[in-house]
Symmetry: none
Subunit: 191 residues, 4 copies
DNA sequence: GATGAATGAGATTTCATTCAT
DNA sequence: TATGAATGAAATCTCATTCAT
């Protein structure tokens, strides 16, 4: 009864959505959220401007969707990667995995670092970013406690900040930054 | 035509300029550069919108002026503060001074962290931010070399990232963040 | 290619058309023509957006179709209802029948009153509305002449305006308006 | 201290505002509220599009301002005109004054009749229109009671509807409508 | 030196309409 | 016949900037 089958429609929709998200992530990451226009996203995605609004209720909703998906992706990748190295200590595994993921998903991290100081944008994200941050801090604290840290809460705050700082400096200048060497140095200091 | 003396005019001008910069720094820091309108800055500064254009050629030039002045201020404060503690090692002095300055100039740091991922904004700043970054890194490297670090370049990159990360986490949640304890932990690990 | 007979197709077509007209009339009447989107009509009718374009060449043509059909319906109902009361004078019959029909077809009257001040919409209707209006006025004039009115043209204009005004006030607040009493008062004054 | 004096600014603002309101009233009246774009209003007023937003928070607020001002104007004109004819009965004065005002302010009445069936637009007006309507009805009722009407409430409803209907038919075709004659006929029937 | 009314380019968003199936 | 994803023109609105005084 339907002219295009439901399956065909599903494929079309999914592909459009993915293209829009990919283009938006790229542009948001490189130019910033506010500096990226919906028109630019549509052009980069190769679709009409209006199409975005059939997938997302607006620019903010698109940002939310990107965060929701990226956070889910990163969490999953993290779980898989971290589980694979039983020879490393928990702290070492976390550090190495986190910094490897930053390499893989540079655009998302740029975006994330770019929006986290902007009240208006953060508001649009609801509590997604703070919640995630708290979760990471808790994981680090647990790992440090297991490693015999005397003050795991403070050490977790410091380690988290260090990872975050390294990630950010790397993302600002991926080609010039000695990520491997810095990773080793960081692991060495927190082992 | 003007009944005011040149000197009086000069004072007025300087005061207006300072008020505009202060208002802009506050708003840029809390809302982000793009999300802050010139109108909002003028209102917060208690001047007319047009006045900004008699002091700066545009919004971008205002941002540049803020950076130029803030960087100069921070550099000066840094020199003074660091010189005052001959009892501490160079590395310790830098860490403590840097994190103390972050507390003093939260708005500037928020702004700085907020724009550094935005290509368009960075472009407006010319090389000011990268240059400054390089300078800090070099200072750290020198201090670490003096402390006998085996690989001062890598250690400087790590220490810089750690300070930056701590500063950023603090700035994101000044009330909740245990800055003192984290500062001590950081000093301890790099002494 | 189609397994359905021509007759079945014809039934489907007629049903779709009727549902679209009904939904459009309801929405146009309650929200206004411009404020009603084609998408909303399709949703209310339970069909796909594109289907409207297989029945009508566009939104304007749909409006024309609604008017054409509604005018025909009202005319027919009017003829039947008016013919049935030989005990009443022609003027009384017209007044009572008209106000009874307004109750029956509130949505159409709302729509009609809503669009009649809008040049662009009127243009789309061609001369349908003015023609109909002239026809009603002529009928009233004839009835008033039969009733012995001294100036049937002017009296027809006044009576028409009064009926129209009552109808409109009723349609604006169907529950609160004392339509019966006002109808009696109107009949009394023009008998 | 101010470059243009406050008075000059006041004049500029007031003139712009008046031009925008006049242009909007004209276009809303002839094309309808929804069919009139802000761009068209600005062009007709001879100002830039953005200027409207420095006087009104949006298109809806402009509509509200037009209604507020027009209702105030009409109320005032009404009071003056009605007071001037002690030789006429209250009912006669009201009818004659109302229909004279419709001639004077055709655009406003067209607009008023055009929006009163549109839920979305009415909502924007808050209760202004219903409140005004109720006020008129009450005035009519009082006048009819003074004239010795047996059922003043119903008679007021009928008279109001008749005036409204005549006004609307006149406004739809000002040149062809025999307003004077119909006014006389209406006065005669309700005296 | 300072003001704020005015401008107009460009942003986000809506929606009538098309078209492959 | 019917579907609904996709289009793109046009709408409302924002905001950096200009300019007369």
């Amino acid at each position: 009864m339907s002219p295009r089958s439901d399956q065909q429609n599903e494929v079309l929709r999914t592909e459009s959505r993915a293209r829009i998200i990919a283009a938006a992530l790229r542009l948001f990451g490189s130019q910033g959220y506010e500096a990226t226009s919906v028109r630019a996203i549509a052009e980069a995605a190769g679709v009409a401007q209006g199409l975005m609004y059939r997938h997302f209720s607006g620019k903010e909703a698109l940002l939310q969707a990107i965060f929701a998906q990226s956070i889910a992706d990163v969490r999953e990748s993290f779980a898989i990667a971290a589980a694979g190295r039983p020879d490393q200590s928990p702290v070492e595994r976390i550090v190495r995995t986190a910094l490897a993921l930053v390499q893989e998903r540079r655009d998302f991290w740029r975006l994330s670092y770019g929006v986290r100081m902007q009240a208006s944008v953060l508001r649009a994200l609801g509590g997604a970013l703070p919640d995630w941050t708290a979760e990471i801090r808790a994981t680090l604290e647990q790992a440090l406690r297991a490693s015999g840290s005397a003050q795991p809460t403070v050490d977790a705050a410091l380690l988290f900040a260090s990872i975050d700082g390294v990630a950010q400096h790397y993302v600002l200048d991926p080609k010039g930054y000695p990520l491997q060497a810095v990773t080793e140095a960081l692991v060495a200091r927190f082992k």
